[in-house]
Symmetry: C2
Subunit: 204 residues, 2 copies
DNA sequence: GGAAAAATTTGCAACGCCTGCAACTTCGCA
DNA sequence: TGCGAAGTTGCAGGCGTTGCAAATTTTTCC
């Protein structure tokens, strides 16, 4: 790797760290691109040659992690059922998303939970990985109905998103988060009909 | 209703229609707030006293419709199981979301499918109605576990969102969309394990 | 080692969204 | 008819974002 590439990586990192630090210190809206650029020792214009927008810098880390996970997912033992494979894939992704990365993980989570616009962006990303799940799914079972694949991915990702967000927002410990995820997977796999409270009549 | 209120309603409508017409004619990004204001015969500044942002004008109609649905939902016969009630609620909401409203319905859908930022906003709204589903659910079954409620809402809304988006993007007819929704509900209710293709081993 | 070529950074100007503010107009009510 | 409330408007300005061309740095090749 040449000097050029090394420097670019370094600059990218400097910008991201400066941005997250400032966001933590004085808030997201209160930090301008100019502030970030100054803190990272680059020109404001350069910021945009590394990140397409101010919002993207918040998701840079998690995106890298997700990309790694996707690469690792390509090779899976072929002797498990598609359902088992999907469970694995989902768990690995959750691991990547839910783990606190570096020292700024908590800040990123807090920012996303607080700012509606960041939340929207996060949901968009979630939606994009849902597309990925559809592709992986149709690859695992080529005979599957298109609608089925779409629905399964939607319900799976939707359910997982819901638990994780809930656990995050309510300060669950990693352990309780994990057991909540297990519970969520079970519900999605066995159906809403398997939840007793749902099929009991309200009369009492 | 006094003159004042009537005029406001009228102005709001004028702005929304002008905006959607211009979006359709020359594109979303190609239309500025100034253009919309001029077409609606108000000052640019006034636009923002009716809609908080340019994006919101795209969702104004659907938001109104959803609000109506929510009001109608409050009163449900108490002799059905929560699961049945949820199905009704979901179907009514889908009806509201999926139907083409007025002459601009198709344009709104197209805009949202095309523009990533609008897609993100749409997902955020979806997420908000998911919160509503959680509330309604815990109301229907007060004894339900918190996590269960969150997961169920997430899977339900996630699955529905996935089918509808897919049908929309692929130009399904209303009939085939409806049957796809039924299929989706069945999958979510009975669980992914009920889909044969998923539990068959890949070996053949 | 040095010059040409390629990639990167930078400053500049501009556009468009959005907001706060203060003046102005319109409406409702007594 | 006049007063207060509500709504509209213009203005000034901040901020994110982009295109462009000049300046700088890195690579490549002689």
């Amino acid at each position: 790797m040449g000097l050029r590439e090394r420097k670019k990586r370094q600059t990218r990192r400097a910008i991201a760290e400066a941005a997250l630090r400032l966001f933590a210190e004085r808030g997201y809206e209160e930090t301008t691109i100019a502030d970030i650029a100054q803190a990272a020792d680059v020109s404001p214009r350069t910021f945009f040659s590394y990140f397409p927008s101010k919002e993207d810098v918040v998701f840079a880390e998690i995106d890298e992690r997700l990309a790694e996970v996707r690469e690792g997912i390509e090779r899976r033992p072929a002797d498990e059922t598609p359902l088992e494979s999907m469970r694995r894939i989902v768990l690995e992704m959750i691991e990547a998303i839910a783990a606190e990365h570096g020292e700024y993980g908590a800040i990123q989570v807090q920012l996303v939970l607080e700012r509606p616009s960041l939340q929207a962006r996060a949901l968009k990303r979630m939606n994009d990985t849902e597309q990925y799940v559809v592709e992986r799914l149709t690859e695992l079972c080529p005979a599957i109905d298109e609608i089925d694949a779409v629905v399964i991915a939607g319900a799976l990702v939707g359910g997982m998103k819901a638990v994780i967000t809930h656990c995050r927002a309510h300060g669950y410990t990693p352990q309780s988060t994990r057991s909540a995820v297990d519970r969520a997977l079970a519900i999605v796999e066995h159906g809403l009909g398997s939840v007793p409270a749902l099929t009991r009549r309200a009369a009492e």
